[in-house]
């Protein structure tokens, strides 16, 4: 096949020593920026653009791609060990990952995240190589009505994190939805619930809330307990890396996470957060021991981590085939293409085949490098946890404050972080789950935006949601997820009669 030969040619391009060096620089930088909440791949690539102007484009793109993948690897590390997600795509990882870390399985959590990311990155790249045109067609089927239906489906995943009390879970969800209303009305540009504070106009940042609820709330809660010094956190328990059982529990979630994440990345408004929710939900539903979720189930790390990396691969599909950027990072990459006078789209594969296939080949190589870089590091990172608890939590507070400040150098964000942290502390103290609040905050504004866009386009006719086949299908799927188990339970109870 032509594509295969071209790919082999690409490997020849990517495997030159200088390009391997660019790839190594990219993945290392990416891992580092992933660790900090504030600095993302988009900003880093923007800063590097002028430096790379004189560089050969193939080398530059190989570095950028490594950086993009690397950021996803790095942010899982802080999620798992410090309960402080570095990027919004790894918020879900903190749910189970941090619990695992406290039980002494931190290294295993990091390993399953790294290997899952590797599997997803590699399979995602494979799908990019072979199936890009099909996924682009699929992605373009999504209009606002379809997105809204998809959000409804994603909302059902909240049921998996509600916790023991449905009422408390629902309260947390509503809190998140309320946070999500703050900001500027998307259709009219009017300020909404900003209480006269100009800084509130942009809405409440997801990363600020996630770090506040998870890291600050947790640290305050630990500080409020008298037995902090005696609280037991095992850095390592049992074998350092994954046990045979952990392997067998991880590989299916990796594959499912990839299958969920990749198409989402290809969607123009897909993002990396929603596929992680869906993957977490799917893993909890399919797990042999669902009760382990919430206490450090490895499936809950393996699936979402695969999903966010697969989504990153998916983002490259519309970018390379249509020149359609679906994330801030993709928009910067598009600017980089322009800088080299390259036109993404079908012509790119014809006119600059060397570059494209070199880039794709370097994605495979970058994934191997990330794995090699991150697996040995896992053993080192996890020793962070042997720091005495009081120092560790003080460190987490400093780290999360610094990270949030670096988001937009805004003092307001810091005030917000600590208010949210206090809310997080109260929620933990009175046993309200925090995950539903995050889901509400992420999905609420997205669902609202798509709902209102769909109704604007249809001029107020609500039937669009059921007359579009794909939208109808997604809504029915959501209905089955919610009503299915109850109906099934009823049927089962009737049987004996």
């Amino acid at each position: 096949v032509g594509a295969f030969d071209a790919l082999m040619q690409g490997f020849a391009t990517a495997a030159t020593p200088i390009n391997l060096l660019w790839s190594l620089i990219g993945v290392t930088l990416g891992t580092l920026i992933g660790l900090l909440p504030g600095i993302g791949p988009a900003l880093t690539i923007a800063l590097l653009l002028p430096v790379t102007r004189k560089l050969d484009p193939t080398g530059a793109f190989i570095m950028f791609a490594g950086l993009y993948y690397g950021a996803m690897y790095g942010s899982s590390t802080t999620s798992i060990l410090l309960n402080t997600p570095g990027e919004s795509g790894s918020i879900v990882t903190a749910l189970e990952g941090n619990k695992m870390a406290r039980k002494g399985r931190g290294a295993a959590a990091l390993a399953t995240a790294a290997i899952g990311s590797f599997v997803a990155g590699t399979l995602g790249t494979l799908a990019l190589t072979l199936l890009a045109p099909i996924f682009v067609k699929f992605a373009l089927l999504f209009g606002p009505a379809e997105y809204f239906a998809l959000m409804v489906l994603a909302f059902t995943t909240v049921t998996s994190v509600l916790g023991a009390s449905k009422l408390r879970g629902a309260v947390a969800l509503l809190l998140g939805l309320a946070f999500g209303l703050v900001g500027t009305d998307i259709l009219t540009g009017q300020p909404r619930l900003v209480f006269g504070l100009p800084s509130m106009l942009r809405g409440i940042d997801i990363v600020v809330v996630a770090v506040g609820l998870f890291a600050v709330g947790e640290a305050l809660y630990m500080a409020s307990r008298r037995d902090l010094r005696s609280a037991e956190v095992l850095p390592i328990k049992g074998s350092l890396f994954m046990t045979r059982e952990e392997w067998s529990r991880s590989w299916k979630p990796w594959l499912r996470g990839t299958a969920i994440g990749f198409p989402f990345g290809a969607l123009p408004a897909g993002g990396t957060e929603i596929p992680t929710f869906l993957s977490y939900f799917a893993e909890k539903k399919l797990a042999k021991n669902p009760e382990e979720f919430g206490h450090g189930a490895i499936e809950g790390v393996a699936g979402p981590e695969a999903a966010n990396n697969a989504a990153v691969a998916g983002v490259l599909v519309p970018l390379l085939t249509l020149g359609l950027p679906t994330s801030a990072t993709a928009a910067i990459l598009l600017a980089a293409f322009e800088q080299y006078n390259l036109q993404p789209g079908p012509q790119l594969f014809q006119n600059s085949g060397d570059l494209v296939w070199g880039l794709i080949a370097s994605l495979y190589i970058g994934n191997v490098m990330l794995l090699v870089l991150n697996l040995p590091l896992a053993g080192m990172w996890v020793r962070l946890l042997s720091i005495p608890q009081s120092l560790l939590y003080a460190g987490i507070l400093i780290f999360s404050t610094l990270g949030v400040y670096s988001l937009s150098n805004s003092v307001f964000d810091l005030v917000l972080l600590w208010i949210v942290g206090l809310v997080g502390f109260l929620m933990r103290r009175y046993d309200y789950p925090v995950a539903p609040a995050i889901i509400g905050l992420i999905l609420g504004p997205l669902a609202e935006a798509q709902f209102r866009r769909a109704l604007t386009i249809s001029q107020g006719d609500p039937s669009v949601f059921i007359t579009h086949p794909l939208s109808l299908f997604l809504l029915l799927a959501a209905f089955c997820v919610v009503a299915g188990p109850a109906a099934y339970g009823r049927l089962k109870r009737r049987k004996p009669i």
């Binding site: 998307i186 106009l201 408004a269 950027p325 993709a330 928009a331 598009l334 789209g345 386009i457």
Partner: protein, 319 residues
């Protein structure tokens, strides 16, 4: 703290020489980009910074202060940086509309205008195989039932939105029926048009040029007064829709800076836009030159602000 330094450059341009001023370069200058990386303001701010560094100024760097449709950057400029002569911010007409619509306590009128730098025009695009073959197919729809034509563009109140309103008005239709869908990025607008759930896309020519070159879109018209060189599209005006709309982007400095700092910034920007590096960026990004400095730019800003207020009222976005 570093003190401002004025470095005289031996090469003196004719105009500044006539005014008795030497061309001055800036040092340790920050340029606020009031948006996320990846958009027009971002590439403009970074290009200006590089062109300044290439034309005598030293250590000029762009920095993103994203949020609130640009108002976060504006707030920082007029609120926290008063009197700072080593700071610039990228801005454009969208910022005027945003600060009006969101009742922001900060406005561009508080800043010190330095220069308008680039100009751009708006294009109207449809899918390559759209049933709307030309503007002649669209005008009757806008006139009789504007709601039937879904138009996707940028944020509410943006130049895209204003153009859409002006088109309905010029066609003799009911502006309140305008069916405008604001989307957060050029990528999503593009997807809306190619995916077919918005009939028409509106955006600035420079941002859309790559997508147009891909062959998936057809340009219905451009909002320039005359046909543009190198652009294969008729103007809206020559197709019977009397709408001409130019967008522009420039830089402003914080309020309360002294006259000497202001002149230094103006001549540093002027040196930058005269540099070869800048010409290269301009042709790469398809920006037209619309350099206008100091008080002339200030007058234009004032006029533009009044015009924006009127148009936003007409389109029903302001009371």
């Amino acid at each position: 703290m570093l003190r401002r330094k004025f470095v005289s450059v031996a090469l003196v341009s004719g105009m500044t020489a006539a005014l008795g001023l030497g061309a001055r370069a800036a040092e340790n200058l920050r340029i606020i980009v009031p948006a996320e990386p990846g958009g027009l303001w971002d590439s403009l701010g970074r290009s200006i910074a590089e062109a300044m560094n290439a034309s005598g100024s030293k250590n000029v760097a762009a920095e993103n202060v994203a949020g609130e449709g640009g108002l976060a950057g504006l707030a920082q400029l007029v609120n926290q940086e008063r009197g700072n002569g080593n700071l610039l911010m990228v801005m454009g007409p969208n910022m005027l509309a945003t600060s009006l619509m969101r009742q922001s306590p900060f406005s561009i009128a508080q800043a010190t205008p330095i220069a308008r730098v680039i100009g751009d025009y708006e294009v109207l695009v449809v899918q390559a195989n759209s049933s709307i073959r030309s503007l002649a197919d669209l005008i009757p729809v806008l006139k009789d039932d504007a709601g039937r034509a879904t138009i996707a563009g940028g944020a509410p109140g943006s130049t895209d939105h204003i153009l859409s309103g002006l088109m309905v008005k010029a066609a003799g239709g009911d502006v309140s029926r305008l069916n405008y869908v604001p989307l957060p990025s050029t990528g999503e607008i593009l997807a809306a048009v190619i995916g077919g759930y918005a009939a028409i896309g509106v955006g600035s020519y420079s941002e859309w040029a790559p997508a147009i070159a891909s062959g998936k879109l057809r340009v219905l018209g451009i909002s320039s007064p005359e046909k543009l060189e190198g652009v294969d599209a008729p103007t809206l005006k020559e197709q019977g829709l009397d709408v001409v709309l130019a967008s522009w982007h420039g830089v402003v400095a914080p309020p309360g800076i002294d006259e000497a700092s202001k002149q230094t910034l103006i001549s540093a920007v002027e040196e930058a836009v005269k540099s070869d590096a800048w010409q290269a960026y301009r042709s790469e990004k398809k920006w037209t030159n619309s350099y206008l400095a100091g008080d002339d730019f200030a007058k234009q800003l004032e006029a533009e602000n009044a015009l924006t207020t009127d148009i936003l009222r007409d389109v029903g976005l302001l009371n």
